[in-house]
Subunit: 328 residues, 2 copies
Amino acid sequence: MSIRIGILGYGNLGRGVECAVKQNDDMELVAVFTRRNPQDVPILTAGVPVYPVDEVAGHQSEIDVLILCGGSATDLPVQTPEYVKYFNVVDSFDTHAKIPQHFARVDEAAVEAGKVAVISVGWDPGMFSLNRVYANAILPDGQDYTFWGRGVSQGHSDAIRRIAGVADARQYTVPVQESLDAVRNGETPALTTRQKHTRECFVVAKEGADCGRIEQEIKQMPNYFADYDTTVHFISQEELNEQHSGIPHGGFVIRNGCTGWEREHRHVVEYRLKLDSNPEFTACVLAAYARAAYRMNQEGGSGCKTVLDIPPAYLCRQSGDELRRDML
Amino acid sequence: MSIRIGILGYGNLGRGVECAVKQNDDMELVAVFTRRNPQDVPILTAGVPVYPVDEVAGHQSEIDVLILCGGSATDLPVQTPEYVKYFNVVDSFDTHAKIPQHFARVDEAAVEAGKVAVISVGWDPGMFSLNRVYANAILPDGQDYTFWGRGVSQGHSDAIRRIAGVADARQYTVPVQESLDAVRNGETPALTTRQKHTRECFVVAKEGADCGRIEQEIKQMPNYFADYDTTVHFISQEELNEQHSGIPHGGFVIRNGCTGWEREHRHVVEYRLKLDSNPEFTACVLAAYARAAYRMNQEGGSGCKTVLDIPPAYLCRQSGDELRRDML
């Protein structure tokens, strides 16, 4: 019998989950819920209904895990504690500083409902967190590094689009190659913000806009750009559409540590992702943890979990015997 | 209160565990057990007793986790099911093909004793297995690659030493750079054994030995060398001691997969280890899983586990709150 999946929110992430469910033959998509008019939301999977989001509670008996594909700013803080009353849920809440608060609220509701919620699933937080935790547990005497990119930052692209005279924009976060090489080589430099990443911006200016002013406003923007070496390229909307429509991302989690009685040996632990599509990869992680949420709840588990709380075997279709034989 | 660790077997791995325990301030080394005469086993930690191995059962009340540092060929198949009768244990059993059988025997004894055993801990099996499992669960439509090295293979070094006329030898396993580059770049080539690794041998010949014959015997040795491009360098014992006394190792676990409705996006997931000391890194992984074994047993758990069964948070000194705040 398949794990019956529902998707709430059908943007890039929701569509990615739909694709991921198709790849997992123990899962079945049974419904999509949207805030838009369902007739305006054509999905990819033939025969699967699209419902208005306010009908979701009525479908409790049809869905094993509801995957929440809303945003972290305003959607998930409300949705995850609400929908865990009815379903096992998985979300990709990624506002690092607010995870403890989100966890506490979701945990209370999940325990009360006897459901499992897995929050902050994806690659950072998510797979990057796992790799930080494993490497820190193994090498207590060491130094952590995270480099992001080369990849599109939606937040930084949005910030550029809010500048007067900007029609469209795409921003790439890029690791500083020299710093990355040093760290991958086992060195443990102290790196400033500027030494870790550069920011590369492709901007479409409105007709008649002052490009010099736009460039200055970008480069001086506090938090987003001021602490980085930033380059700005003005291009046409056509070029932006043709060359920069993808959503690639990725990065590196590296821990360099010492062992030995006199700290005489050095070790480099590196995890790297190179992703053509940030939302589709995130969606794949959500699908794997939906399987875990389902299993934990089947075994009587409830409450809020993160990737740190879940045994790796729970993500897999294979039995423990098969995993030990084929994967260990 | 510290987790009280015992070490059984004091070779390179046992000494590595001793160093790892020193780095973990929630752990304390309380005893070392050896098959040798304890007076001939000077350990690094002041004030810690060394006992004959046949006295180990008498120290049950002093030790929370016994870390078994014997070999997989003959020691661990006997030791792990035996000592789990008295202690929570962790081992580094690494004969992949015999893991299911080892698991079954250890599980039976561990359940009977109400203790936790964690088997096959290290980096392969161990961290590499974890990364294979996570990447497979996330990207069901993909291809796995494992490259080992550049690093010393003890088994291959021993095989060379058994050839007539060889005084000493050290063998390095080396990934084929061209294949590694292709895979890291997202390609999914079908690679033969020869296309994945080369073997580099440093050999000290006995006086008067026929180096040409030794080289041929190495290169034609079935399983060990015949399927690889092998290079043989004859060097002096002094040079071997000076240049090749370390035990470095490492490697890469890579999964390349597709996502999207039409498989239109590609992703590369890569885990890499670069280790100055294979036994010391393995020992660090053993120490982290000793913490997990202790905690699981404290919570009433028993039976045989592998790295695939253990939530990552159990490896950490930090509480769940701290991990969510600082590491997620």
